[in-house]
């Protein structure tokens, strides 16, 4: 049994594993939305552009953290693997939304990602030792919560536009 699988069974993960998954999560999202921009109609491009921009900010945050010696010092430490980790890790695999996805498809995918990220970062913020990494997870948990609420608002306005 590999060390990774062993750790999964024991419910523990190293900070490095968590960190790498989170970094990959944000990078994949940024790449996914960036590549999607030219494939969507201009009327919904604003939505994908905003999503790509938000993910880029998160990628930059992780890039800066990886250069921080304080974070580097705790990379080998073990912390509890978040319950939401499975769903979060699955998001590394991006879906095929088709050649010209509409606003609802993009929003539903984005909502699913934000929800997984919110759960993951909220748990990590609680279990990570105090320091810059914990601060980052607290920040990200708040960010993802805000993004999710904002996306839900957009979803309601866009899809549930009300009766005539």
């Amino acid at each position: 049994m590999s060390e990774t699988n062993k750790a999964k069974l024991t419910g523990k993960a190293t900070v490095r594993e968590i960190f790498e998954t989170a970094t990959e999560f944000e990078k994949v999202a940024h790449r996914f939305y960036t590549e999607l921009i030219p494939n969507v109609s201009k009327d919904i491009r604003w939505l994908v552009e905003e999503l790509a921009e938000e993910e880029l900010e998160h990628v930059e945050l992780f890039t800066n953290l990886s250069k921080n010696p304080e974070v580097d010092a705790i990379m080998a430490a073990e912390i509890a693997r978040p319950v939401a980790d499975g769903k979060f890790s699955d998001c590394v695999h991006t879906p095929d939304l088709g050649p010209n996805p509409d606003d609802q498809a993009v929003l539903q995918y984005a909502l699913m990602r934000e929800s997984a990220a919110m759960d993951q970062y909220t748990e990590l913020a609680q279990s990570t030792p105090a320091g810059p990494l914990k601060d980052a997870f607290v920040f990200l948990a708040n960010e993802e919560t805000k993004h999710k609420a904002e996306l839900e608002k957009i979803y309601y306005e866009t899809v549930h536009s009300g009766g005539v």
């Binding site: 009327d43 604003w46 839900e152 549930h160 009300g162 009766g163 005539v164």
Partner: protein, 598 residues
């Protein structure tokens, strides 16, 4: 002259030893408990309707602005200022007050060397402001009627088996009585998106001058047959009468005027359009915004062609609103007047298929896009793809076209807006005709107090046998092994919005329900089909969060293209009418500017 006549003047001497009635120092002498003294006004209750000003026989009251009281829906923000050099203390203003805010203290003495001091706004700082004694109207107002005149409507049992119009319309006698309740305050005018001359046309009903009434209607709205039946009547929500009774039935009175004027007479009264200008305007979409713009432009002498993709004009007024609410012949009369102004409507002509945007641009001086919201949205919960799940707007369109639509004995509708009610009630009628009974379940995310549908729609749906389950979030359309729909699985919605009012539905998963049905209809929202624009124009245009970007004058980023109506502003007939006027004005300004330049 007799002795009696000589002595009578001396009889007044009998009081010579009595105490004098007059007193040297009257200040501070209390008045009777209900004496009508200086006015009091509860400024927070006063809605500034000006009814007191209108009724004052001495012109003693002026409505004035007061710092800290801004205009809002149903409230002008103005307050009565009373000139006591004119006031005769009759208290008519108190008796007529629509909210009961105006009363009178029993304070009657006030000495001041400044004559202007006796003209002031009651309710601010005067010492008797909060005195309890004085005069106030007993009970509710009696000078104008409290209760709305009953509108005859078909009983649920009679109406469920057909698509006949439910509302009968007022007789003349009923209309006069209802019109008589209006105090002509005009608060409604500000609320109406088209700013119709409501008090004036209600006065025309009272005067039985229907010609004048019709002319007033057409000043601001060429869709009075429609709006007299299905307007969202926001005006009634700001009516001064609703504070102590029913609001005036403004919508029904509008319909009454139009009912009283024969079609040919309407055209006579409106008169002929201006001389042809030689300018041509293309309008895409024959809904309320497009046809209102067409009416205004044609009246101004411009050549107007309306391109309509469907078989008949009217847009959502015809294809979204069932005939029991809006009969097609009533809609046709409104459209007929517009056509009589010279507007050409080309039906079955889909832009992008039968004519291109480039051709419209080439052949016209301006193009107006009023395409409405004709694409139904889906929840896209599991199970929504495949047979047995329909979209409400598609079914409503097919019913209007007389097509046979899919039907089941038990149907589940998702949605809490007017479209959901329209499809639920339409399918209920078809079920009654086919199966002899109604089997409709309607589920909505919102709780019943926050349904987007008009309250009367909810009431009438229930009367017709529609079972409403509010605060239910759809999770899955259930299907059997053969893929046939068996029902809709929902969770109870604990809350739809978060503390900041954002959409964030929270479900109670332990409260799960399966609403049985072999057909599910989604009526959750609509979108505009902008595919007619083509890729190049879609790219060229500027967009605003999914909608074509327009400025306050309804100009798009392309100088030849204008846009209005539901597709750019939101769904509501009267708002679309208002938009239609505005976009027409902008187009006319553009054409006039070009005329000057040439």
């Amino acid at each position: 002259m007799g002795l009696r006549e000589v002595l009578t003047p001396f009889t007044v001497w009998k009081h010579v030893f009595d105490d004098p009635v007059t007193i040297k120092q009257p200040i501070g002498r209390p008045a009777a408990e209900r004496y009508r003294g200086f006015h009091q006004n509860d400024l927070d209750t006063c809605i500034g309707c000006g009814t007191c000003e209108a009724i004052c026989q001495n012109g003693a009251i002026d409505m004035v602005a007061v710092a800290g009281y801004d205009p809002e829906k149903g409230n002008s923000g103005l307050k009565p200022q009373i000139d006591y050099g004119r006031c005769c203390w009759c208290a008519l203003c108190v008796d007529v007050c629509m909210t009961g805010s105006l009363t009178m203290s029993n304070e009657y003495t006030w000495v001041d060397t400044d004559p202007d001091a006796f003209r002031f706004v009651p309710g601010l700082e005067e010492p008797w402001k909060d005195d309890e004694e004085g005069y106030e109207r007993e009970g509710k107002r009696v000078l104008s009627g409290i209760e709305r005149i009953h509108m005859e409507e078909m009983e649920p049992e009679a109406r469920i088996g057909n698509f006949d119009e439910i509302v009968a319309g007022y007789s003349r006698a009923e209309a006069i009585l209802e019109a008589d309740r209006c105090v002509e305050c005009g608060l409604c005018v500000a609320t109406c998106p088209a700013h119709m001359s409501i008090p004036d046309y209600i006065a025309a009903v009272r005067d039985q001058d229907y010609d004048r009434g019709l002319q007033l209607l057409y000043e601001t709205n060429p869709f009075s047959e429609v709006c007299g039946r299905v307007c969202t009547h926001k005006c009634e929500g700001s009516c001064a009468a609703l504070h102590e009774g029913d609001p005036i039935a403004i919508r029904w009175l509008k319909r009454h005027i139009i009912d009283e004027v024969p079609f040919d007479r309407r055209i006579e009264l409106i008169g002929q359009p201006a001389e042809p200008t030689g300018r041509k305007v293309a309008i895409i979409g024959a809904g309320p915004a497009g046809l209102t713009a067409a009416f205004d432009l044609a009246r101004a002498g411009h050549g107007v062609v309306v391109y309509e993709a469907l078989a008949h004009a009217g847009g959502m007024m015809r294809y979204g609103i069932p005939e029991y609410r809006l009969p097609y012949d009533a809609l046709d009369r409104d459209i007929g007047v517009i056509e009589a102004m010279g507007v050409e409507i080309r039906t079955n002509c889909r832009v992008g298929r039968d004519v291109t945007m480039d051709e419209l641009r080439r052949d016209h001086d301006a193009v107006v896009l009023t395409i409405g919201l004709h694409m139904g949205r889906s929840t896209r919960v599991p199970g929504t793809e495949g047979a047995g799940v329909e979209k409400a707007v598609d079914l409503l369109r097919r019913i209007t076209d007389g097509e046979k639509v899919p039907l089941a004995e038990q149907i589940v509708v998702i949605g809490g807006g007017n479209v959901a009610m329209d499809i639920a009630r339409s399918m209920a009628r078809l079920q009654k005709a086919e199966f002899g009974k109604v089997g409709i379940t309607l589920t909505a995310l919102e709780d019943i107090d926050h349904f987007l549908a008009d309250p009367e729609e909810v009431v009438e749906s229930r009367e017709e046998g529609v079972k409403i389950f509010d605060a239910r979030g759809p999770q899955e359309v259930m299907r059997d092994a053969e893929g046939k729909v068996t029902g809709l699985r929902t969770w109870r919605v604990k809350s739809i919005f978060d503390a900041e009012g954002r959409f964030a539905p929270a479900y109670d998963q332990s409260d799960e329900r399966v609403h049985a049905g072999s057909m599910v209809i989604e009526a959750i929202g609509q979108a505009a089909d902008t595919s007619l624009l083509g890729a190049a124009l879609t790219e060229a245009l500027e967009w605003n969060r999914g909608r074509i970007k327009i400025d306050t004058a309804f100009r798009t980023s392309e100088p030849w293209l204008f846009a209005a109506g539901d597709a750019v502003k939101g769904p509501d007939v009267i708002s679309a009418v208002a938009d239609g006027h505005r976009v027409a004005r902008t187009v006319m300004e553009k054409l006039a500017a070009r005329e000057v330049a040439q």
